[in-house]
């Protein structure tokens, strides 16, 4: 069963341009029914029909998890990317019908936490918007530290600071403001969990700093959706299906497998969940591993690949699919 998730037919009922980079989309069920509730931190996979190419991009749900009338997501335009965000920005119009997946949560709150310490960078704010709404209902204790490039690009800053003046702290890069992470992490009471969502460098910074300060890794949570990156075209043989597929420059290995009509498993499409892990039967060349999932020994063995984000450069690649 692909994805292990159900699909929902939705209609785009509102599009709001927040700033130069970020646009918000609102989805309601096309049949008028209610959407499933979800937990803060969940994402949905949005299907885009882009001139014959099916793109499947994950976006964090940012609306109130208890609100079953609509879902909202925010999409940051990526001019260098393969086109998913550009499709959302340039092609999607109010009234369009789209297909999204049921919510999947790979970044959920640890509900045992005495305190939730959230660190967001840029568009990484979106999962926290839903988590904060959830914690509001449960009277959970949280603190948000949100770094953005400039006031003009600070999505949702006004809403957050108005609703939670004491719990939200905003830092603008262009004003040389920065999170004093060392100090922040040192003072947290026992039972605090830290959550980080943002650029790769920010996640690494929080993970390294917290480890050096003796934070247990079980109390450090992070979510980084890797967008698949373009690369040289290559050919893959799918042994079980008995077919050979060409992987184009701007499509991922997983997308190429799906295009060939093979029902391959996936969940996050961002190298994090492990669901699409595939055995390599034969290879002659170099793997370009980009996931967060495989262990070093898996990579060294050359026997596994995560086709959602990773690629291959070489003569022969045969997968057990």
């Amino acid at each position: 069963m692909s994805a292990g998730t159900e699909k929902i037919d939705v209609t785009v009922t509102d599009i709001v341009k927040l700033n130069d980079l970020v646009t918000r989309f609102k989805f309601e069920r096309s049949d008028g029914g209610q959407l499933p509730t979800f937990s803060g931190g969940a994402h949905t996979v949005v299907e885009m029909q882009d001139d014959g190419i099916t793109r499947l991009n994950p976006y964090s749900l940012m609306s109130d998890p208890m609100d079953q009338s609509a879902y909202t997501i925010s999409v940051r335009r990526d001019d260098e990317g393969r086109g998913g965000s550009l499709f959302m920005h340039n092609r999607v119009k109010t009234g369009d019908r789209m297909v999204i997946s049921y919510p999947v949560n790979l970044f959920s709150l640890d509900l045992r936490a005495r305190k939730h310490l959230m660190i967001a960078g840029g568009i990484g704010i979106t999962p926290f918007l839903a988590q904060i709404k959830q914690l509001d209902r449960l009277s959970g204790r949280f603190e948000l530290h949100y770094a953005c490039r400039s006031a003009a690009l600070g999505s949702y800053v006004d809403e957050l600071t108005a609703n939670h003046p004491n719990a939200v702290h905003v830092y603008y890069d262009d004003q040389k403001q920065a999170i004093d992470l060392q100090r922040l992490l040192t003072g947290q009471p026992l039972g605090t969990h830290v959550y980080v969502c943002g650029p790769k460098g920010m996640i690494e910074w929080v993970r390294k700093t917290s480890a050096a300060l003796g934070w247990p890794e079980e109390a450090v949570h992070y979510e980084e959706f890797l967008a698949p990156q373009s690369g040289k075209p290559f050919q893959v043989r799918l042994a079980k299906s008995g077919i050979t597929v060409d992987v184009g420059e701007h499509e991922s290995l997983l997308e190429a497998i799906e295009r060939a009509g093979i029902d391959a498993p996936y969940l996050c499409r961002g190298g994090a969940c492990g669901q699409c892990e595939t055995d390599v039967i034969e290879s002659d060349g170099t793997f370009v591993h980009r996931d967060h999932w495989l262990e070093d020994e898996d990579r060294a063995s050359g026997c596994k690949i995560m086709p959602c984000v990773s690629r291959f450069e070489g003569r022969t690649l045969v997968l057990d699919r």
Partner: protein, 356 residues
């Protein structure tokens, strides 16, 4: 159909019995003539009409009496129902899942009326008509998990998901195959399965965990498990083992057909939306051997399975001592004919027992 609820007991005088309807729809757990552990998961999306798979939460003729038995167990030992503090939200998720499912699947028995967070729940078989505020514990007589599972057949393990594992952090456990919620609460998936022999070495639990971590909203799963119980005793708990253990020694060739029961668990798995927890309902069905053998295919197959099951498994499932008696009894119902694949009774196609 309207269900006729039995008035029966699962202790003392043991008046529990299965009607012909209940026998025909019994979830016989063996799809072939032998048994070994496997990760035998499938989607829980209905099943043949009238089967125990049809509805999300099966209600049968034992419902009312099972709920009375649960109340007796809880009065004697409230530790059979526990929820760690962070699991309250999951309890509400479970309450919603069961109320919505039952009111949609059995509209003649259950009704749910919702106006925002003001809910009214009507349970006709148990004579309950309650109004409460969703997500407000102060408006229910028990915590949400206890409230709804006092009204739902089967045990419930509510599992928190974190650190790539599942943690048994809440549960209602009164019809268990000899494990203690009070002891196991707080354990992870590998820890609470620690006493199970062979399966760890076979990698069964690693694969099962990987599957369960990926059970998603709207896409529940299920599997069957089984053991053997002397007398239709629902509460085979370790807590009371010093009281019921002796019953295992009361089997004779004359009484075995009515006393020895095959005990089957229909295990289902649902992702809970607000808490991201996983609920693991474990529904127990029991059937006397003399009723099993009224289905010729099941009589043949049960004999072969129990005869050949490895010693470790028969020991763990607690029937190693009685195995010779059980196999002797069942051998009368095995004429050596082949059996059809799958668990269904196949009464129309399987031949009757050839009397040797």
């Amino acid at each position: 159909m309207t269900i006729q609820f039995n008035d029966e007991t699962f202790r003392d005088d043991y008046t529990f019995h299965n009607s012909d309807w209940a026998i025909r729809r019994f979830p016989f757990p063996f799809h072939e003539d032998s048994y070994m552990y496997s990760v035998n998961m499938e989607q829980h999306r209905g099943g043949p009409a009238g089967s125990v798979y049809e509805k999300r939460f099966d209600v049968d003729e034992h419902y009312v009496s099972e709920m009375k038995d649960r109340a007796i167990v809880l009065a004697e030992d409230p530790l059979r129902c526990q929820s760690l503090p962070h699991m309250t939200l999951a309890g509400w998720d479970l309450l919603e899942l069961i109320m919505v499912s039952k009111s949609e699947d059995y509209p003649d028995l259950f009704e749910l009326h919702r106006d925002g967070n003001d809910w009214r729940w009507i349970n006709r078989p148990l004579g309950i008509d309650d109004r409460f505020t969703f997500l407000d514990e102060a408006t229910l007589p028990y915590g949400p998990m206890e409230y709804i599972t006092r009204q739902t057949q089967g045990d419930f393990a509510v599992l928190d998901q974190r650190d790539e594992n599942l943690w048994m952090d809440a549960g209602m456990v009164t019809t268990q195959a000899d494990w203690s919620l009070d002891f196991d609460i707080g354990m992870n998936f590998f820890e609470w399965h620690a006493p199970v022999p062979l399966a760890h070495e076979m990698g069964i639990f690693k694969r099962a965990l990987k599957f369960l971590l990926n059970v998603q909203q709207g896409n529940p799963a299920r599997r069957l498990n089984w053991t053997m119980t002397v007398n239709p005793l629902l509460d085979t708990s370790p807590e009371n083992y010093h009281k019921w253990g002796i019953q295992k020694t009361t089997l004779t060739p004359e009484n075995i057909g009515s006393k020895q029961h095959l005990r089957v668990e229909l295990q289902t798995f649902f992702r809970l939306p607000r808490s991201n927890a996983l609920v693991f309902p474990i529904r127990c069905y029991m059937i006397a051997l003399q009723d099993v053998v009224t289905v010729p295919k099941w009589g043949r197959r049960l004999h072969r399975v129990l005869r050949d099951v490895p010693v470790e498994l028969a020991t763990y499932k607690g029937f190693i001592g009685n195995r010779p008696l059980i196999v002797d009894y069942l051998s009368q119902f095995d004429d050596g004919l082949p059996t059809s694949d799958g668990i269904w009774p196949d009464l129309d196609t399987e031949p009757p027992l050839r009397k040797g």
